[in-house]
Amino acid sequence: MNDWLEIFSTPLPVTEATAFIAAPGAGGIALFLGTTRADTSATGQSLIALDYEAYEEMALKQFASLAERARRTWPVIKLAIHHRTGRVALAEPSVLIAVSTPHRADAFDACRWLIDTLKSEAPIWKKEIWSDGPATWVEPGTKAEN
């Protein structure tokens, strides 16, 4: 198995993914973790977590499509795409992208393309949970994005 594509309702297996991605032919591994960032709402509330929801069957198909397209562009040896559902606390990872390639430039480029394209295509949504007041679905383009 060269691609590890999975959606988790529990903390992401970062250590296992890092071990998975290693390969004798790899000269570089790029690992990206997207994490919950502290924020303050317009009304002064503090962000305490993000709740993620996924259309899991479709998101996994999208991950497979991302993997296939990345392999058409870069000499990817192994890759992992993981995403969380459920509540993700501050500083914890909600998404993991890991890519191994023979040389580092391709690993960086493929990793960057994978996270950017996942964010624009994958049927996954996040909701902001505030210290007080109603939770809010994130609309792309607002400051909570990225």
């Binding site: 198909k61 995403h83 049927p123």
Partner: protein, 81 residues
Amino acid sequence: MTIKAKFFAIAREKAGTADATLHLPDGSTVAIATAMIARQFPQLAATTTRCAFAVNQEYAAPDRTLKDGDELALIPAVSGG
């Protein structure tokens, strides 16, 4: 024909349910099914105009013709990552 509708995120909350069964005339498109959803769930009507669509877990255009047993999902603006 009968299709299954799925709602996610803000669409699921507005509908008050994650799925629904729709009975439609043969040859109905995604757009026709969405109009039916908006009639069945009036509180969802405004949200449907800001959603993309997926048929059987693939993005689909509003003029896509549906078949019996298809799964139609409303996809609000995504915000993963």
